[in-house]
């Protein structure tokens, strides 16, 4: 993958809200008729392979539902609660490696199906009736059996991990039962109703999975919802650890080992200029000042941890964002690819080294400044990873009628 031979693109049809929850789909998650992932050879644009998902929902906004690590691709089907792991082979094929969700091990489905054949005849007829009513899709995903009353594989792993953890915290049986009742069974239905929100790779064998309620899964700002982070080993199919999104322990790991949450290939030079509080003193000072100013430590930790799991390729690898080279206003511009408030003033980049002077400015929006100073403007930036070239897109949202969005795209380059 270092050779930059392939490009991965996704296309989708329109969103259908209020889609009926059929075929094992989660109620409340919208549906998209067709999502296609295309693997292109960048040399000539030839489509080498594609993977289609029908009547499914993968969050393609800012690549949130997809994570690329080396040659492994994780696609989260929010609707069917399955994490599809695909591999991009050198030959140019997208190969399905595993599907985590309903089943964890490759042979789970076979095992359950072979045992189901031993069921009574009446039950079998009932099952066949239900299967017949299933929607006919061209599928690459494991369709869960609607007549099956088992919880999904990943959910079972999660619940049993929580149970065992709580059981082992006490030594006496009466205390154990009490603890389980208060911490586990009281919230049991909430835990059962948890859905996978987002996934990232930690390495080739481990996933960091964020679980939350159905409401938060599709809303844009889910920060106020409670969520949980689990570390899952794909090979052993075990949950290694499980934290609430405000857990001290998880925050400590994030503070100390931030860089390792950005899973990039070991050989990649991609991380060379990316500043984080784990590799850059200025970024660390910034974090410390936010921490000191925070009124509530748990709120602060929750805010920091809300960025987990990270989206892949969400940080620009451009050296212009290296905090040991340049100083810039974090609120106006930074390596993360999110929209931010835009002002009419140009954004200054100041040298961190002597002579500590202004090096250059980046001004989004029209040269002469915008016509209406009061209109809300947001900007986003795209910096070339290697060349001294950047794009800025400034959108003006006119709130009075007619409601019109005006976009100004600037190309910034070094002379």
């Amino acid at each position: 993958m270092e050779s930059n031979k392939f490009g991965l693109f996704a296309t989708s049809t329109a969103l259908i809200h209020d889609a009926p929850a059929v075929g094992g789909a989660v109620q409340g998650v919208p549906s998209i008729e067709k999502i296609t992932f295309h693997l292109l050879r960048l040399e000539d644009g030839l489509v080498l392979d594609e993977k289609v998902f029908c009547n499914d929902f993968v969050n393609l906004t800012h690549n949130m539902g997809v994570f690329l690590y080396d040659d492994l691709l994780a696609i989260v089907s929010l609707r069917y609660q399955i994490i599809h792991i695909l591999q991009i082979r050198d030959s140019g094929n997208l190969v399905h490696v595993r599907a985590i969700g309903e089943f964890c091990r490759e042979d789970d489905e076979l095992f359950l199906n072979s045992n189901a054949q031993g069921m009574a005849l009446s039950d079998k007829n009932k099952q066949q009736q239900l299967l017949g009513n299933n929607i006919d899709n061209n599928i690459q995903q494991a369709q869960p059996n609607p007549g099956n009353s088992f919880l999904s594989g990943i959910k079972q792993r999660l619940l049993s991990f929580m149970f065992r953890g709580l059981w082992n915290e006490e030594t006496e049986d009466t205390l154990r039962v009490d603890r389980l009742r208060k911490k586990f069974y009281f919230h049991f239905q909430d835990y059962v109703d948890l859905i996978i929100w987002k996934v990232q790779f930690l390495d080739r064998h481990h996933l960091l999975i964020k679980f939350g309620s159905v409401d938060g899964g599709v809303s844009r700002n889910a920060d106020h919802h409670t969520s949980f982070i689990a570390v899952y080993n794909m090979d052993t199919t075990e949950i290694v650890s499980f934290y609430q999104n405000s857990a001290d322990e998880l925050y400590l790991l994030f503070e100390q080992f931030c860089d390792h949450f950005y899973a990039t290939s070991r050989n990649s030079m991609h991380m060379n200029f990316i500043s984080s509080h784990s590799n850059n003193i200025h970024a660390l000072e910034q974090l410390r000042s936010i921490k000191d100013k925070a009124s509530s430590s748990s709120q602060f930790m929750k805010k920091m941890l809300s960025s987990l799991p990270f989206s892949c390729q969400s940080l620009s690898p451009s050296p212009y964002f290296d905090q040991s080279l340049f100083r810039f206003d974090d609120k106006l511009i930074s390596a993360t690819d999110r929209h931010r408030q835009s002002t009419d003033h140009p954004i200054k980049f100041i040298l961190r080294r002597p002579p500590y002077s202004l090096r250059f400015k980046v001004k989004p929006g029209p040269e002469a400044g915008s016509m209406d100073g009061r209109a809300k403007k947001i900007s986003s930036f795209l910096f070339h990873p290697v060349l001294p070239l950047a794009l800025s897109v400034q959108q003006t949202l006119f709130l009075q009628s007619p409601v019109v969005n005006m976009s100004v795209v600037n190309i910034h380059f070094r002379r």
Binding site: N168, D203, V231, V240, L253, H260
Partner: protein, 104 residues
């Protein structure tokens, strides 16, 4: 010395005797294959191979904390639901120390 570093002075004439000049066919990212001690105060085991740990530090830390919780319970309670887990394959004490491994 025949090492391509020219006739640079060195304490021990054997120090750079095995160094090969950079070969254009080899990637410059490859580290030298062997290290030789420059003193003989402590002699490393003859078959020692130092490798990069496959699991990175974050995962090692996550696993360590998980093991710690289980070991704590195992140490303090006689009875428990889960049997004591077998020791993990990786028996390194703490991160930071290199472990000698037999080269395959």
């Amino acid at each position: 010395m025949d090492s391509g570093l020219g006739n640079w002075p060195s304490y021990d004439p054997h120090n750079f005797s095995q160094l090969r000049t950079s070969d254009p066919s080899r990637s410059s990212k490859m580290a030298p294959a062997t290290y030789h001690p420059t003193h003989n105060r402590v002699v490393p085991p003859a078959d020692q191979v130092i490798n990069t740990e496959a699991k990175h530090i974050l995962l090692r830390e996550i696993y360590r904390r998980a093991e710690e919780k289980i070991d704590l319970i195992a140490a303090t309670s006689p009875l428990q639901l889960t049997p004591k887990r077998a020791a993990s394959d990786n028996l390194t004490p703490e991160h930071g120390s290199k472990q000698p491994r037999v080269s395959t």
